[in-house]
Amino acid sequence: MIISQQKPFEEILEALGDQEKVYLVGCGECATMTQSGGEDEIADMKTRLEAAGKTVLGNDVAHLTCHELDMKRIFRQSKDAAKETDAFIVFSCGAGTQSVREATDKHVIPGTNTLFLGNVKRNLQYEEKCSLCGECVLDEYGSICPVTRCAKGILNGPCGGTNNGQCEVDPDKPCAWVLIHNQLKKEDRIEQFMKIQGPKRWNAVERPGRLDARDKDEEKGAA
């Protein structure tokens, strides 16, 4: 899921400036799980903004804020509030904020910072394991991604900064290369470690990414 974190309240107020009437948008998926933009956080934000002298004209926790057609439909239903508001504050990921952007011409403010695509370790604990590179090489590495989990994204083994199995850059994180080495040993595939890996094809996906999955042309490999 996409891991996001609320911005400091002062930063949100500063972005609003003199604008008084606001409309809050949360997200029923990732931002609800991460408690950065679920029903409770939106209700809390409403209280804090009202205490700061703002008028909250409307608030919605969309099922999926990154769904652009859904956002347009929601704003059509709450027509007056959406029309009268000075600004929208969006508590989802950056994709959700830009989905709101597509649905209105008003000032749209991100209420969160979008951090990473994260695995859920346990409730409210997340770790980044995939960086959406567009060309999955996990099988080369015992399904432990060095592109993401090695601080330098090294593809051929540990650097000199590996420190008793931990990473020099952040001693709280394991060295991905020690994990990979141990995993390949467990799989009895340690010879795989010796394969010299070329650099990533960073343009495997042309950025900004775009996919029309309705296209069933098998040659293009579309799903």
């Binding site: 090294i154 083994g157 590996t162 990979i180």
Partner: protein, 298 residues
């Protein structure tokens, strides 16, 4: 071919020093150090934004050393440049007469003085080694033919005290397979450990013309030694050396560190443990001539 490679390939015990360019335009000390060392050693490494701290460039200083009649080992990290810029700099360095390149991934920007910089790592050390080898063979990374190939002596690093050691050894072997012709190690202090590492390394490099130079960082105080043990991964100063450093008054610590360094050089040479040494005095290069004298190298 440069002096450094000539020395290495002749089978001579190779000696190199290291120059860390200054942060700014005041180059007097650096020029003095180069002047002092360039004829005394086979080559001088020049660091590349060492520790991810912005400094005067490795290529410019390497060129200066070569133009003054010395030989330079141009250090190149993959942290700050993508593959286009790396190859561009390799061609430029070659044009400027630089013939030795040490391929490094480079310290992460988070340890340096531009912590918000975007680190590149389009290549890492193994891939940079491959790229230099390809350019030596007349091709760029993309497979296009070059109008004239390069002639670099390809260097790499290895950390003999890395923990765990197995993945580090595997990477060392990959660097050799990728085309590394010489190695300079991370600082080593425990000569017994280093000799066992070299037994392994000699086995791996048997039949291949790969030279291994021991990295020696001069101890300046017992505090510095303890600091390295605590904070520099892959560096291990054993207890007997800590005690030896502590056995002398503070003002004689540097002298003691120089003695230890010279003793290690002598031992490595006499026992034919490795093919040479890379002596790092980290800003105190003026002491290197005396160390080499103590080690009977000059």
């Amino acid at each position: 071919m440069g002096k450094y490679r000539e020395a290495a390939e002749s089978g001579k015990f190779v000696v190199s020093g290291e120059i860390g360019p200054p942060k700014g335009t005041q180059v007097d000390d650096m020029l003095h150090h180069i002047d002092l060392l360039k004829d005394m050693v086979d080559g001088l490494n020049v660091t590349d934004n060492q520790s991810a701290v912005l400094r005067l460039g490795s290529m410019a200083v390497s060129h200066h050393i070569v133009s003054e009649g010395g030989d330079a080992v141009f250090q190149m990290t993959t942290r700050d440049r993508n593959r286009l810029a790396l190859q561009n700099d390799l061609l430029s360095a070659h044009f400027l007469g630089i013939r030795n390149v040490l391929c490094l991934t480079g310290d992460h920007v988070s340890v340096g003085d531009h912590k918000d910089a975007r680190e590149v790592y389009d290549f890492e050390s193994v891939q940079l080694i491959q790229a230099v080898k390809k350019m030596n063979e007349g091709f760029d990374w993309a497979g296009n033919e070059l109008q004239g190939s390069t002639d670099f002596y390809i260097g790499a690093v290895v950390t003999p005290e890395s923990n765990p050691i197995e993945p580090q050894k595997a990477k060392f072997e990959k660097k050799i397979a990728a085309g590394a012709q010489f190695f300079q190690t991370q600082a080593v202090y425990d000569m017994d450990n280093f000799q066992s590492f070299m037994e392994y390394a000699r086995g791996v490099t048997e039949g291949k013309d790969v030279k291994i130079m021991a990295g020696l960082v001069v101890l300046t105080s017992v505090g510095m030694a303890k600091y390295m043990n605590k904070f520099v991964p892959g560096v291990f100063v054993p207890d007997n050396l800590l005690e030896e450093m502590a056995s002398v008054p503070k003002e004689e610590a540097l002298k003691k560190g120089m003695e230890i360094c010279a003793r290690h050089i002598k031992l490595l040479k006499e026992k034919n443990v490795c093919d040479g040494v890379h002596v790092m005095a980290i800003g105190k290069e003026e002491i290197v001539p005396e160390i080499l004298q103590l080690a009977d190298l000059v």
